[in-house]
Amino acid sequence: MLNPVFPSRLAGLVERLPATPPSLAFCALANRALWPALQALDWQPLVGRRYAIRVSDLGLRLGFTVSRSGFAPDRGAPDLVITASAGDFLLLIGRREDPDTLFFSRRLVSEGDTELGLVVKNLLDALEPASVLRQLPAPVARAAERWLAR
């Protein structure tokens, strides 16, 4: 079921590059906001797998892996790649749109291990917004709450 999405020679080259600042920033934020909230759920299936989030319109690629202690930047060939525009990622984060809806209309692309994709989707769906917001600095959490309640 594992479908490496990058040709292995290219992946080998990419692996030798240092982790990019966006991936570092993403992991720092995920460790602060997501990781504590995930502890209430069954996060073990995420461990040891490699992920890439591609923000198509920004040309941004966030590569990371998950260990028993949290998120870490990673340049390896991902098991799962999720691609969407920045706007659609915001709609998903804000729970304005259902991932299946975006997937049916081809705005969200999931490549690689389908089962892992489903695990990630269902874990994110099961996250209580309050449990994530609680981890953020109060002014950021308040702004996010206002945005979510729009």
Binding site: M1, S105, R106, L118, V120, N122
Partner: protein, 333 residues
Amino acid sequence: MPLELICPAGSLVALKAAVDHGADAVYMGFRDNTNARAFPGLNFDEAQAAEGLRYAHDRGRKVLLALNTYPQPDSWQRWTGAVDRAAKLGMDAVILADPGLMRYAVRHHPQLRLHLSVQGSATSYEAVNFYREHFGIRRAVLPRVLSLPQVENVVRHTDVEIELFGFGGLCVMVEGRCLLSSYCTGESPNSAGVCSPAKAVQWKDTPAGLESRLNGVLLDRYGKGEKAGYPTLCKGRFEVGGETYYAIEEPTSLNTLDLLPEMQKLGIAAVKIEGRQRSPAYVAQVTRVWRAAIDAVKRNAEAFTPTPAWQAELDKLSEGQSHTLGAYHRPWK
């Protein structure tokens, strides 16, 4: 007769979304193959189910447990254990398909309310009344194969409450007994609790289009901009007689908003929304629209017309290209 709105939940967050947006009852499954949405990471463990029940009951709503797969001989205890847990948790009803499990429930938990699942495939009042006489079922969910006059005939000849599907994915008219998934993967909905298990599904972008495969079998190839559907064998496009088309079923969603006044007139007890595998965002959107529509029908059924905004919102959530009234509406009949 109250027309209840029954909404799906695959997580506690989705359950809260359903309750907050006006569901009269929410249905859920436990985290195993005792229900027909056994996807990884979906559904409720016992603590989450208890919290969901508390949340719904505090707000005067009900929670129903889908126990709608068929117990396998080597793991019968998993299903009876689920019935025991449902009773202990205080579920408002369990939705069962297997007569053996119904007998177990009646013997061990006589106070537990039983609903006949759509997977039970009872299409006639004789079948519904059989379940009533033998197991005391209080409600039956009718398969999506009957026209409205046929539904009316069932309603007229039974005192069992009738629940109909109102919105969501359709399957090939045999409601879980279909063997297509098992033909490809060895797992069928009624035994493994999932049609097209995720571990057997592959999506791949190719120069010819986005391909979906089930255990290597090509199901469909979507051209650029073409709407995709769930990777199920029944909704794939196949070459038959030199033509490539939806040879079994088109991927459309059921949407019966138009029929709500007739459903109310027939005395339908509840309308069910499909989609426990969908996200809280879907649950919130669909529940909001259907709540508004049911309230409008209750206020004035004669003047009821679904608003274009409701239809647009539901269309957006649909699988495939369009929605359909399904078998309910058969103008040639």
